[in-house]
Symmetry: C2
Subunit: 245 residues, 2 copies
Protein backbone atom coordinates (compact mmCIF):
# COMPACT_ATOMS: atom_id res chain seq x y z
CA UNK A 1 0.00 0.00 0.00
CA UNK A 2 1.76 3.13 -1.24
CA UNK A 3 0.55 6.69 -0.84
CA UNK A 4 -1.18 7.97 -3.97
CA UNK A 5 0.63 11.28 -3.64
CA UNK A 6 4.13 10.77 -2.27
CA UNK A 7 4.85 13.64 0.03
CA UNK A 8 7.56 16.00 -1.11
CA UNK A 9 11.07 15.05 -0.14
CA UNK A 10 12.76 18.42 -0.15
CA UNK A 11 15.88 19.74 1.41
CA UNK A 12 17.90 22.88 1.08
CA UNK A 13 21.24 22.60 -0.68
CA UNK A 14 23.88 24.80 -2.07
CA UNK A 15 23.35 25.47 -5.74
CA UNK A 16 25.49 23.18 -7.86
CA UNK A 17 26.52 26.08 -10.05
CA UNK A 18 27.19 28.86 -7.63
CA UNK A 19 30.30 29.49 -5.59
CA UNK A 20 29.57 31.47 -2.46
CA UNK A 21 29.40 35.14 -3.33
CA UNK A 22 29.09 34.86 -7.05
CA UNK A 23 25.30 34.66 -7.24
CA UNK A 24 24.29 32.55 -10.24
CA UNK A 25 27.01 33.94 -12.49
CA UNK A 26 27.89 30.47 -13.59
CA UNK A 27 24.43 28.98 -13.48
CA UNK A 28 24.21 26.77 -16.53
CA UNK A 29 20.59 27.50 -17.26
CA UNK A 30 20.32 31.10 -16.12
CA UNK A 31 20.23 32.59 -19.58
CA UNK A 32 17.16 30.52 -20.44
CA UNK A 33 15.12 31.52 -17.45
CA UNK A 34 13.69 34.65 -15.94
CA UNK A 35 17.06 35.48 -14.47
CA UNK A 36 18.56 35.61 -17.95
CA UNK A 37 17.55 39.25 -18.29
CA UNK A 38 19.31 40.47 -15.17
CA UNK A 39 22.50 42.35 -14.60
CA UNK A 40 24.93 41.14 -11.92
CA UNK A 41 23.61 43.43 -9.20
CA UNK A 42 20.00 42.50 -9.82
CA UNK A 43 20.98 38.87 -10.08
CA UNK A 44 22.54 38.98 -6.66
CA UNK A 45 19.41 40.63 -5.30
CA UNK A 46 17.24 37.92 -6.76
CA UNK A 47 19.55 35.20 -5.56
CA UNK A 48 19.15 36.48 -2.03
CA UNK A 49 15.45 35.66 -2.34
CA UNK A 50 16.09 32.14 -3.56
CA UNK A 51 16.16 28.88 -1.68
CA UNK A 52 18.12 26.23 -3.49
CA UNK A 53 16.38 22.95 -2.95
CA UNK A 54 16.52 19.36 -4.09
CA UNK A 55 13.43 17.26 -4.55
CA UNK A 56 13.49 13.54 -5.10
CA UNK A 57 11.74 11.80 -7.96
CA UNK A 58 7.97 11.29 -7.80
CA UNK A 59 7.56 14.05 -5.23
CA UNK A 60 4.75 16.49 -5.74
CA UNK A 61 5.88 20.09 -6.06
CA UNK A 62 2.36 21.48 -5.97
CA UNK A 63 -1.14 20.43 -6.90
CA UNK A 64 -3.60 21.95 -9.31
CA UNK A 65 -5.71 24.51 -7.48
CA UNK A 66 -3.28 25.03 -4.60
CA UNK A 67 -2.69 28.62 -3.62
CA UNK A 68 0.52 29.76 -5.30
CA UNK A 69 2.99 29.97 -2.45
CA UNK A 70 6.19 29.49 -4.40
CA UNK A 71 7.50 29.80 -7.91
CA UNK A 72 10.44 27.80 -9.19
CA UNK A 73 13.31 27.86 -11.59
CA UNK A 74 14.47 24.35 -12.45
CA UNK A 75 18.22 23.88 -12.58
CA UNK A 76 18.40 20.10 -12.88
CA UNK A 77 16.04 17.22 -13.61
CA UNK A 78 12.60 16.93 -15.19
CA UNK A 79 9.16 17.88 -13.87
CA UNK A 80 5.84 16.72 -15.25
CA UNK A 81 2.99 19.25 -15.37
CA UNK A 82 -0.47 17.78 -15.58
CA UNK A 83 -4.18 18.19 -15.22
CA UNK A 84 -6.48 15.53 -13.79
CA UNK A 85 -10.10 14.84 -14.65
CA UNK A 86 -12.47 13.79 -11.90
CA UNK A 87 -12.52 10.22 -13.20
CA UNK A 88 -8.76 9.92 -13.01
CA UNK A 89 -7.85 10.60 -16.60
CA UNK A 90 -4.70 12.65 -16.76
CA UNK A 91 -3.32 15.00 -19.38
CA UNK A 92 0.30 15.96 -19.08
CA UNK A 93 0.50 19.48 -20.45
CA UNK A 94 4.26 19.64 -20.47
CA UNK A 95 7.60 18.51 -19.17
CA UNK A 96 9.69 21.18 -17.51
CA UNK A 97 13.45 20.88 -18.07
CA UNK A 98 16.37 22.77 -16.58
CA UNK A 99 15.98 26.44 -17.43
CA UNK A 100 12.21 26.30 -17.30
CA UNK A 101 10.32 28.44 -14.84
CA UNK A 102 7.17 27.39 -13.01
CA UNK A 103 4.92 30.26 -12.04
CA UNK A 104 5.43 32.66 -14.94
CA UNK A 105 1.79 33.64 -14.82
CA UNK A 106 2.11 35.04 -11.28
CA UNK A 107 -1.45 33.90 -10.72
CA UNK A 108 -2.97 33.29 -7.32
CA UNK A 109 -3.29 29.52 -7.70
CA UNK A 110 -1.62 26.81 -9.74
CA UNK A 111 -3.49 25.89 -12.92
CA UNK A 112 -1.87 22.43 -13.00
CA UNK A 113 -0.06 19.98 -10.77
CA UNK A 114 3.69 19.47 -10.85
CA UNK A 115 5.64 16.34 -9.91
CA UNK A 116 9.33 15.61 -10.06
CA UNK A 117 9.97 12.92 -12.67
CA UNK A 118 13.47 12.19 -11.40
CA UNK A 119 15.53 13.85 -8.69
CA UNK A 120 15.56 17.56 -9.38
CA UNK A 121 17.18 20.74 -8.20
CA UNK A 122 15.47 24.09 -8.21
CA UNK A 123 15.57 27.67 -7.08
CA UNK A 124 12.50 28.35 -5.03
CA UNK A 125 11.06 31.83 -4.52
CA UNK A 126 8.10 32.82 -2.45
CA UNK A 127 5.41 34.24 -4.67
CA UNK A 128 5.33 37.46 -2.68
CA UNK A 129 9.07 37.92 -2.99
CA UNK A 130 8.85 37.36 -6.72
CA UNK A 131 5.93 39.71 -7.30
CA UNK A 132 7.73 42.31 -5.20
CA UNK A 133 10.88 41.85 -7.21
CA UNK A 134 8.94 42.16 -10.46
CA UNK A 135 7.35 45.38 -9.26
CA UNK A 136 10.78 46.87 -8.64
CA UNK A 137 12.32 45.52 -11.82
CA UNK A 138 9.91 46.07 -14.71
CA UNK A 139 12.33 44.50 -17.16
CA UNK A 140 11.73 41.20 -15.35
CA UNK A 141 8.05 41.42 -16.17
CA UNK A 142 8.99 42.03 -19.77
CA UNK A 143 11.16 38.94 -19.65
CA UNK A 144 8.40 36.88 -18.07
CA UNK A 145 6.01 38.14 -20.69
CA UNK A 146 8.31 36.94 -23.46
CA UNK A 147 8.68 33.59 -21.76
CA UNK A 148 4.98 33.06 -21.21
CA UNK A 149 4.30 34.08 -24.80
CA UNK A 150 6.71 31.34 -25.79
CA UNK A 151 4.92 28.88 -23.51
CA UNK A 152 1.70 29.78 -25.28
CA UNK A 153 3.23 29.03 -28.66
CA UNK A 154 4.44 25.67 -27.35
CA UNK A 155 0.95 24.94 -26.06
CA UNK A 156 -0.55 25.80 -29.43
CA UNK A 157 1.93 23.54 -31.18
CA UNK A 158 0.90 20.78 -28.80
CA UNK A 159 -2.73 21.38 -29.78
CA UNK A 160 -1.76 20.63 -33.38
CA UNK A 161 -0.04 17.44 -32.26
CA UNK A 162 -2.99 16.31 -30.16
CA UNK A 163 -5.64 17.35 -32.61
CA UNK A 164 -4.23 16.42 -35.96
CA UNK A 165 -1.27 14.02 -35.82
CA UNK A 166 -1.35 10.22 -35.94
CA UNK A 167 0.33 8.20 -33.20
CA UNK A 168 3.61 7.74 -35.03
CA UNK A 169 3.75 11.43 -35.89
CA UNK A 170 3.11 12.34 -32.28
CA UNK A 171 5.88 10.16 -30.95
CA UNK A 172 8.32 11.38 -33.60
CA UNK A 173 7.43 15.00 -32.83
CA UNK A 174 7.85 14.34 -29.12
CA UNK A 175 11.30 12.84 -29.54
CA UNK A 176 12.46 15.61 -31.86
CA UNK A 177 11.11 18.25 -29.57
CA UNK A 178 12.91 16.79 -26.55
CA UNK A 179 16.07 16.49 -28.59
CA UNK A 180 15.94 20.15 -29.51
CA UNK A 181 15.22 21.24 -25.98
CA UNK A 182 18.15 19.25 -24.61
CA UNK A 183 20.36 20.72 -27.30
CA UNK A 184 19.24 24.22 -26.47
CA UNK A 185 20.36 23.82 -22.87
CA UNK A 186 23.68 22.37 -23.87
CA UNK A 187 22.89 18.67 -23.61
CA UNK A 188 23.22 17.90 -27.29
CA UNK A 189 23.47 14.20 -27.94
CA UNK A 190 22.13 11.64 -30.39
CA UNK A 191 20.86 9.83 -27.32
CA UNK A 192 17.65 11.39 -26.03
CA UNK A 193 17.20 10.72 -22.31
CA UNK A 194 13.67 9.71 -21.41
CA UNK A 195 13.49 9.91 -17.63
CA UNK A 196 9.71 9.94 -17.71
CA UNK A 197 7.64 6.75 -17.79
CA UNK A 198 5.88 5.46 -20.86
CA UNK A 199 2.60 6.37 -19.26
CA UNK A 200 3.80 9.95 -18.94
CA UNK A 201 4.57 10.03 -22.64
CA UNK A 202 1.17 8.50 -23.32
CA UNK A 203 -0.61 11.05 -21.15
CA UNK A 204 1.32 13.82 -22.85
CA UNK A 205 0.56 12.65 -26.39
CA UNK A 206 -3.07 11.70 -25.87
CA UNK A 207 -2.34 8.02 -26.44
CA UNK A 208 -2.25 4.87 -24.35
CA UNK A 209 0.87 3.34 -22.92
CA UNK A 210 0.50 0.38 -25.29
CA UNK A 211 0.29 2.58 -28.37
CA UNK A 212 3.37 4.51 -27.26
CA UNK A 213 5.24 1.28 -26.68
CA UNK A 214 4.19 -0.19 -30.00
CA UNK A 215 5.09 3.01 -31.84
CA UNK A 216 8.54 3.18 -30.26
CA UNK A 217 9.04 -0.48 -31.16
CA UNK A 218 8.01 0.27 -34.72
CA UNK A 219 10.46 3.18 -34.97
CA UNK A 220 13.17 0.88 -33.62
CA UNK A 221 12.20 -1.91 -36.03
CA UNK A 222 12.48 0.60 -38.88
CA UNK A 223 15.94 1.66 -37.71
CA UNK A 224 14.85 5.23 -37.03
CA UNK A 225 15.82 4.96 -33.39
CA UNK A 226 17.52 2.51 -31.07
CA UNK A 227 15.97 1.93 -27.67
CA UNK A 228 18.60 2.22 -24.96
CA UNK A 229 18.26 2.17 -21.17
CA UNK A 230 16.43 5.33 -20.07
CA UNK A 231 16.17 6.79 -23.53
CA UNK A 232 16.46 6.36 -27.26
CA UNK A 233 19.29 6.94 -29.66
CA UNK A 234 18.44 8.61 -32.95
CA UNK A 235 19.73 6.56 -35.85
CA UNK A 236 18.09 8.42 -38.70
CA UNK A 237 17.32 12.04 -37.91
CA UNK A 238 16.04 12.79 -41.41
CA UNK A 239 13.53 10.00 -41.25
CA UNK A 240 12.47 11.03 -37.77
CA UNK A 241 11.88 14.57 -38.98
CA UNK A 242 9.95 13.33 -41.99
CA UNK A 243 7.73 11.22 -39.72
CA UNK A 244 6.95 14.14 -37.43
CA UNK A 245 4.93 15.86 -40.18
Amino acid sequence: MSAPHPRPVQHTTTCQFTQPGEACQRCGVRIFSVCGALEPGQLAALDRLARHIEVSGKSMLFEQGDKTTSVYSITSGVVRLFKLLSDGRRQIIGFALPGDFLGLSLSASYAFGAEAVDDIQLCQFSRDDMTGFVKEHPEVLERMHQLIAHELIIAQDQMVILGRLAAEERVAAFLLNLHQRYRRIGRESVTIPLPMLRIDIADYLGLTIETVSRTISKLARNKVILVVPDGVRVLDMKKLQALSA
Copy 2:
Protein backbone atom coordinates in the same frame (compact mmCIF):
# COMPACT_ATOMS: atom_id res chain seq x y z
CA MET B 1 -12.76 29.02 -59.37
CA SER B 2 -12.45 30.93 -56.15
CA ALA B 3 -9.26 32.26 -54.57
CA PRO B 4 -8.01 29.98 -51.82
CA HIS B 5 -7.29 32.97 -49.62
CA PRO B 6 -9.94 35.64 -50.10
CA ARG B 7 -8.17 38.96 -49.84
CA PRO B 8 -9.10 41.10 -46.89
CA VAL B 9 -12.13 43.27 -47.35
CA GLN B 10 -11.42 46.02 -44.88
CA HIS B 11 -12.64 49.51 -44.49
CA THR B 12 -12.39 52.15 -41.83
CA THR B 13 -15.53 52.92 -39.90
CA THR B 14 -16.60 54.78 -36.86
CA CYS B 15 -16.69 52.56 -33.82
CA GLN B 16 -20.20 51.32 -33.15
CA PHE B 17 -19.83 52.13 -29.48
CA THR B 18 -18.08 55.44 -29.43
CA GLN B 19 -19.61 58.87 -29.84
CA PRO B 20 -17.10 61.38 -31.15
CA GLY B 21 -15.00 62.65 -28.29
CA GLU B 22 -15.84 60.03 -25.71
CA ALA B 23 -13.10 57.55 -26.58
CA CYS B 24 -14.30 54.00 -25.84
CA GLN B 25 -16.15 54.99 -22.66
CA ARG B 26 -19.14 53.04 -23.78
CA CYS B 27 -17.33 50.26 -25.58
CA GLY B 28 -19.21 47.11 -24.70
CA VAL B 29 -16.17 44.89 -24.55
CA ARG B 30 -13.55 47.29 -23.26
CA ILE B 31 -13.44 45.88 -19.76
CA PHE B 32 -12.54 42.45 -21.12
CA SER B 33 -9.65 43.60 -23.25
CA VAL B 34 -6.32 45.28 -22.79
CA CYS B 35 -8.05 48.62 -22.57
CA GLY B 36 -9.97 47.47 -19.51
CA ALA B 37 -7.10 48.53 -17.27
CA LEU B 38 -6.98 52.12 -18.44
CA GLU B 39 -8.18 55.36 -16.96
CA PRO B 40 -10.10 57.82 -19.15
CA GLY B 41 -7.07 59.90 -20.08
CA GLN B 42 -5.01 56.88 -21.05
CA LEU B 43 -7.96 55.40 -22.86
CA ALA B 44 -8.28 58.50 -24.98
CA ALA B 45 -4.56 58.33 -25.74
CA LEU B 46 -4.85 54.71 -26.82
CA ASP B 47 -7.97 55.43 -28.85
CA ARG B 48 -6.02 58.03 -30.80
CA LEU B 49 -3.76 55.20 -31.96
CA ALA B 50 -6.64 53.00 -33.05
CA ARG B 51 -8.17 52.50 -36.46
CA HIS B 52 -11.70 51.19 -36.26
CA ILE B 53 -12.17 48.78 -39.10
CA GLU B 54 -14.66 46.29 -40.41
CA VAL B 55 -13.65 43.08 -42.10
CA SER B 56 -16.05 40.86 -43.97
CA GLY B 57 -16.45 37.16 -43.31
CA LYS B 58 -13.81 34.76 -44.63
CA SER B 59 -11.24 37.52 -44.97
CA MET B 60 -7.76 36.79 -43.75
CA LEU B 61 -6.58 39.15 -41.03
CA PHE B 62 -3.04 37.81 -41.09
CA GLU B 63 -1.21 34.61 -41.87
CA GLN B 64 1.01 32.47 -39.72
CA GLY B 65 4.60 33.64 -40.02
CA ASP B 66 3.74 37.12 -41.29
CA LYS B 67 5.65 39.95 -39.68
CA THR B 68 3.48 41.42 -36.95
CA THR B 69 2.40 44.75 -38.36
CA SER B 70 -0.82 45.21 -36.42
CA VAL B 71 -2.50 44.00 -33.29
CA TYR B 72 -6.25 43.94 -32.83
CA SER B 73 -8.99 44.19 -30.30
CA ILE B 74 -12.16 42.54 -31.55
CA THR B 75 -15.35 44.45 -30.87
CA SER B 76 -17.80 42.40 -32.90
CA GLY B 77 -17.88 39.06 -34.68
CA VAL B 78 -15.82 35.89 -34.50
CA VAL B 79 -12.29 35.15 -35.73
CA ARG B 80 -10.77 31.72 -36.20
CA LEU B 81 -7.12 31.26 -35.25
CA PHE B 82 -5.38 28.31 -36.82
CA LYS B 83 -2.22 26.53 -37.75
CA LEU B 84 -1.69 24.65 -40.99
CA LEU B 85 0.45 21.61 -41.65
CA SER B 86 2.31 21.33 -44.92
CA ASP B 87 -0.10 18.65 -46.15
CA GLY B 88 -3.12 20.86 -45.57
CA ARG B 89 -4.27 19.55 -42.22
CA ARG B 90 -5.49 22.40 -40.08
CA GLN B 91 -5.78 22.82 -36.34
CA ILE B 92 -7.91 25.67 -35.12
CA ILE B 93 -6.30 26.77 -31.88
CA GLY B 94 -9.09 29.08 -30.85
CA PHE B 95 -12.00 31.29 -31.74
CA ALA B 96 -11.61 34.94 -30.84
CA LEU B 97 -14.80 36.66 -29.70
CA PRO B 98 -15.56 40.31 -28.95
CA GLY B 99 -13.29 41.47 -26.15
CA ASP B 100 -10.44 39.23 -27.25
CA PHE B 101 -7.14 40.72 -28.23
CA LEU B 102 -4.90 39.42 -30.99
CA GLY B 103 -1.24 40.16 -30.50
CA LEU B 104 -0.89 39.94 -26.73
CA SER B 105 2.51 38.35 -27.12
CA LEU B 106 3.93 41.44 -28.84
CA SER B 107 6.12 39.06 -30.81
CA ALA B 108 7.74 39.92 -34.11
CA SER B 109 5.66 37.55 -36.20
CA TYR B 110 2.28 35.88 -35.93
CA ALA B 111 2.39 32.34 -34.56
CA PHE B 112 -0.92 31.47 -36.23
CA GLY B 113 -3.21 32.63 -38.97
CA ALA B 114 -6.42 34.56 -38.32
CA GLU B 115 -9.54 34.69 -40.49
CA ALA B 116 -12.84 36.41 -39.95
CA VAL B 117 -15.57 33.80 -39.50
CA ASP B 118 -18.37 36.28 -40.05
CA ASP B 119 -18.30 40.03 -40.57
CA ILE B 120 -16.29 41.54 -37.78
CA GLN B 121 -15.37 44.91 -36.33
CA LEU B 122 -12.07 45.60 -34.66
CA CYS B 123 -9.75 48.21 -33.29
CA GLN B 124 -6.49 48.00 -35.14
CA PHE B 125 -3.19 49.26 -33.72
CA SER B 126 0.18 49.29 -35.37
CA ARG B 127 2.54 47.05 -33.48
CA ASP B 128 4.98 49.90 -33.02
CA ASP B 129 2.32 52.17 -31.61
CA MET B 130 1.27 49.47 -29.20
CA THR B 131 4.76 48.60 -28.00
CA GLY B 132 5.42 52.30 -27.57
CA PHE B 133 2.24 52.71 -25.57
CA VAL B 134 3.14 49.72 -23.42
CA LYS B 135 6.56 51.18 -22.70
CA GLU B 136 4.96 54.38 -21.44
CA HIS B 137 2.21 52.62 -19.50
CA PRO B 138 3.69 49.70 -17.57
CA GLU B 139 0.30 48.80 -16.14
CA VAL B 140 -0.76 47.87 -19.66
CA LEU B 141 2.00 45.28 -19.81
CA GLU B 142 0.76 43.93 -16.51
CA ARG B 143 -2.71 43.71 -17.96
CA MET B 144 -1.43 41.97 -21.09
CA HIS B 145 0.51 39.57 -18.92
CA GLN B 146 -2.63 38.62 -17.02
CA LEU B 147 -4.50 38.16 -20.28
CA ILE B 148 -1.84 36.01 -21.90
CA ALA B 149 -1.58 33.92 -18.72
CA HIS B 150 -5.29 33.34 -19.10
CA GLU B 151 -4.82 32.38 -22.74
CA LEU B 152 -2.25 29.84 -21.64
CA ILE B 153 -4.69 28.29 -19.18
CA ILE B 154 -7.29 28.09 -21.94
CA ALA B 155 -4.75 26.43 -24.20
CA GLN B 156 -3.89 23.90 -21.50
CA ASP B 157 -7.56 23.14 -20.99
CA GLN B 158 -7.85 22.56 -24.70
CA MET B 159 -4.95 20.09 -24.48
CA VAL B 160 -7.00 18.08 -22.00
CA ILE B 161 -9.95 18.16 -24.39
CA LEU B 162 -7.87 17.09 -27.37
CA GLY B 163 -5.79 14.54 -25.52
CA ARG B 164 -8.25 12.86 -23.23
CA LEU B 165 -11.91 13.47 -24.10
CA ALA B 166 -14.15 11.38 -26.35
CA ALA B 167 -15.99 13.00 -29.26
CA GLU B 168 -19.22 13.60 -27.37
CA GLU B 169 -17.33 15.08 -24.42
CA ARG B 170 -15.40 17.38 -26.74
CA VAL B 171 -18.52 18.71 -28.42
CA ALA B 172 -20.30 19.17 -25.10
CA ALA B 173 -17.28 20.99 -23.66
CA PHE B 174 -17.09 23.17 -26.75
CA LEU B 175 -20.73 24.20 -26.54
CA LEU B 176 -20.53 24.90 -22.82
CA ASN B 177 -17.37 26.87 -23.24
CA LEU B 178 -18.88 29.03 -25.97
CA HIS B 179 -22.00 29.50 -23.88
CA GLN B 180 -19.93 30.76 -20.94
CA ARG B 181 -17.88 33.06 -23.10
CA TYR B 182 -20.97 34.61 -24.66
CA ARG B 183 -22.46 35.05 -21.20
CA ARG B 184 -19.31 36.71 -19.94
CA ILE B 185 -19.53 39.36 -22.63
CA GLY B 186 -23.19 39.97 -21.99
CA ARG B 187 -24.70 37.75 -24.67
CA GLU B 188 -26.31 35.30 -22.29
CA SER B 189 -28.88 33.14 -24.01
CA VAL B 190 -29.95 29.52 -24.07
CA THR B 191 -29.30 29.70 -27.78
CA ILE B 192 -25.62 29.38 -28.56
CA PRO B 193 -24.77 31.04 -31.89
CA LEU B 194 -22.43 28.96 -34.00
CA PRO B 195 -21.25 31.28 -36.77
CA MET B 196 -18.34 28.98 -37.59
CA LEU B 197 -18.68 26.08 -39.98
CA ARG B 198 -18.86 22.46 -38.90
CA ILE B 199 -15.41 21.95 -40.32
CA ASP B 200 -14.12 24.74 -38.08
CA ILE B 201 -15.57 22.97 -35.06
CA ALA B 202 -14.03 19.71 -36.30
CA ASP B 203 -10.62 21.31 -36.80
CA TYR B 204 -10.88 22.87 -33.35
CA LEU B 205 -11.84 19.63 -31.59
CA GLY B 206 -9.52 17.29 -33.46
CA LEU B 207 -12.41 15.46 -35.11
CA THR B 208 -13.85 15.14 -38.60
CA ILE B 209 -16.80 17.08 -39.85
CA GLU B 210 -18.84 13.88 -39.97
CA THR B 211 -18.12 13.02 -36.36
CA VAL B 212 -19.08 16.53 -35.28
CA SER B 213 -22.28 16.34 -37.27
CA ARG B 214 -23.17 12.92 -35.88
CA THR B 215 -22.40 14.00 -32.35
CA ILE B 216 -24.55 17.10 -32.63
CA SER B 217 -27.33 14.97 -34.08
CA LYS B 218 -26.97 12.56 -31.17
CA LEU B 219 -27.17 15.37 -28.62
CA ALA B 220 -30.28 16.63 -30.39
CA ARG B 221 -31.78 13.14 -30.52
CA ASN B 222 -31.22 12.84 -26.77
CA LYS B 223 -32.94 16.18 -26.20
CA VAL B 224 -29.81 17.79 -24.77
CA ILE B 225 -29.82 20.46 -27.44
CA LEU B 226 -32.01 21.64 -30.27
CA VAL B 227 -30.33 22.48 -33.55
CA VAL B 228 -31.53 25.86 -34.79
CA PRO B 229 -30.37 27.96 -37.75
CA ASP B 230 -26.82 29.17 -37.07
CA GLY B 231 -26.58 27.64 -33.62
CA VAL B 232 -27.98 25.32 -31.02
CA ARG B 233 -30.39 25.85 -28.18
CA VAL B 234 -29.55 24.20 -24.89
CA LEU B 235 -32.48 22.12 -23.67
CA ASP B 236 -30.80 20.35 -20.76
CA MET B 237 -27.86 22.26 -19.31
CA LYS B 238 -27.31 19.73 -16.52
CA LYS B 239 -26.99 16.87 -18.96
CA LEU B 240 -24.72 18.91 -21.19
CA GLN B 241 -22.45 19.65 -18.25
CA ALA B 242 -22.44 16.01 -17.21
CA LEU B 243 -21.44 14.99 -20.73
CA SER B 244 -18.55 17.44 -20.84
CA ALA B 245 -16.60 15.45 -18.21
